[in-house]
Symmetry: C2
Subunit: 310 residues, 2 copies
């Protein structure tokens, strides 16, 4: 049983109550706060030494990544993060200066996004460090973007470049909070998430939640320089396009809008965020599954996203 099958089984019959607007299955849970203007967003995410970072990584970057992953999930709902709690599991031989450096990286990212860190705890974890972050945020009523709203003939967009994140970006990415809020304020986004498992796997999350399919244009996928370099470095390496489709941990925004909004959106984006690439990579189609169109025609995409237990 892999991670996705286990999660499907576990989330079949979770306890719920009247405060739940959106439960398990989207980037964040959405909750009713009893306030007139907004809804609460609630997210938790953990990173484990040897799985999500190596012991050789700079501790400031480990802290940055731990909080950044949760911030990216709030961005995926077009929300604003408010407050975080941090749990750190530490081997008995931990060095206090390493833990302080982890916090230093986390605090710097939190301050840039006006997020309060309101507590947490340390606990013993004999073999390896882990960091679990819980994050609260909010979104104006009616402005939250789920995974389930994609429609046939939507244009599919992705920010930034994809693939090769392990070369460094996975520890340094900047969560696309301002970009996501701007998008939701100015355009009717149909579906959005952040690319954490890889474009191929994450696009499938939108497709299955929205009960639609998609066609991607191979030449449009924004392949990162790192993915190209890695592909050239070794004949046994993943081809760059496959890396961009499946590497994961890009933490870019993947979203869909009605086809008629595609050109105005691209024009407005380039004025607002001239430094950050935004690419239309394909369109939503009725049916199911993903096809990739290149000069030889359209073929089904079978590569799977990154699976932690694979």
């Amino acid at each position: 049983m892999n991670e996705f099958e286990l999660i499907c089984r576990l989330t079949r019959s979770l306890p719920t109550n009247s405060a739940v607007v959106v439960g398990a299955g989207d980037d964040c849970a959405v909750l009713e706060p009893g306030a007139p203007d907004h809804l609460l967003l609630f997210k938790t995410d953990a990173i484990v030494e040897g799985v999500h970072f190596t012991a050789a990584a700079a501790p400031e970057k480990i802290g940055h990544k731990a909080l950044g992953r949760c911030l990216s999930d709030i961005a995926a709902m077009a929300g604003t993060p408010t407050a975080a709690l941090v749990t750190i599991g530490l081997p008995r031989s931990f060095k206090p200066e390493v833990v302080e450096a982890v916090y230093s990286g986390m605090n710097a990212l939190a301050r840039r996004h006006q997020v309060a860190i309101v507590g947490g705890e340390t606990t013993a974890s004999p073999e390896r460090m882990f960091i679990s972050v819980a994050l609260l945020g909010w979104v104006p009523r009616g402005k939250g973007v789920l995974r389930s709203g994609a429609e046939a003939d939507d244009a599919i967009f992705v920010t930034g470049e994809l693939g090769g994140s392990l070369a460094g970006k996975h520890l340094e990415f900047e969560p696309r909070l301002a970009e996501a809020r701007w998008l939701a304020q100015h355009f009717a986004l149909h579906a959005m998430l952040d690319v954490s498992d890889g474009l191929a796997g994450d696009l499938r999350h939108i497709l299955s939640a929205s009960r639609v399919g998609a066609e991607l244009l191979a030449t449009s996928i924004p392949v990162s320089r790192e993915a190209h370099l890695a592909a050239k470095a070794s004949p046994s390496a993943k081809p760059a396009l496959l890396a961009a489709l499946t590497d994961g941990e890009d933490f870019e925004l993947l979203f869909t809008v009605a086809g008629r909004d595609a050109v105005p959106l691209l024009d407005a984006w380039r004025k607002q965020f001239p430094q950050l690439l935004l690419t239309c990579i394909g369109k939503i189609k009725a049916g199911e599954g993903v096809t990739v169109r290149d000069k030889h025609g359209a073929r089904p995409l079978t590569a799977h996203g990154y699976d932690h237990f694979a």
Copy 2:
């Protein structure tokens, strides 16, 4: 450096913002939700295999404990829990039926307290299971109880019996949510927390937050049957009274009220909760430190609470 010293160092300069009512240092963080009647409570807590439970523990009870610890912190603020997120770290060889049983114990406790489980994740943790729970709750404005309000001449109360929790209670305790809400509705509680590190250590948390001292009556401490049995079982075991003061993981409520409220509170409690012991164990005094009074006089209490890194 132990856990408390590290936490003190880390919490010196955490990022904050205008939504924070109470940050790090109490049982829960308290946040402004923009709603007229209530405040948000936010808490996270992790348990680790081999530290907080053994691999031999029934998985349902592991799940119960993971959620129960967070619920107990919401109780300590006289709050009502709403929604939880659950992160489980799993070795690659995990048995799906064990994870399902963990969830089964957690779900049963959540349903008894009308708590929704709104998602979370599984992640790889090669050597041992860990469970990190994030919990949201709420408390009516003006009814939340912090650690910092104890005053000289307050009576100190504790629910239930203390000590010997490792014999079983630490996996089976029922968080005192209804009791804490009833107390806060009917009496002016000055300070409250849940006894997780041991009475001696946790009382000191109230004293240092409130800048006061305390005198306990040795004969009044409600020592559990399990602490007495363990003390009798071996000449090298902790004396039962010391176990009640220092064992930890009792998850009972420790609170103070004005001395004049002590007798009316005890009378009303016995009618409301006839099955659950409530004991006045001493009083708050000006100054600092804890003394224990017995037939030989008053002596300073030097035993420390449980420290995860000791």
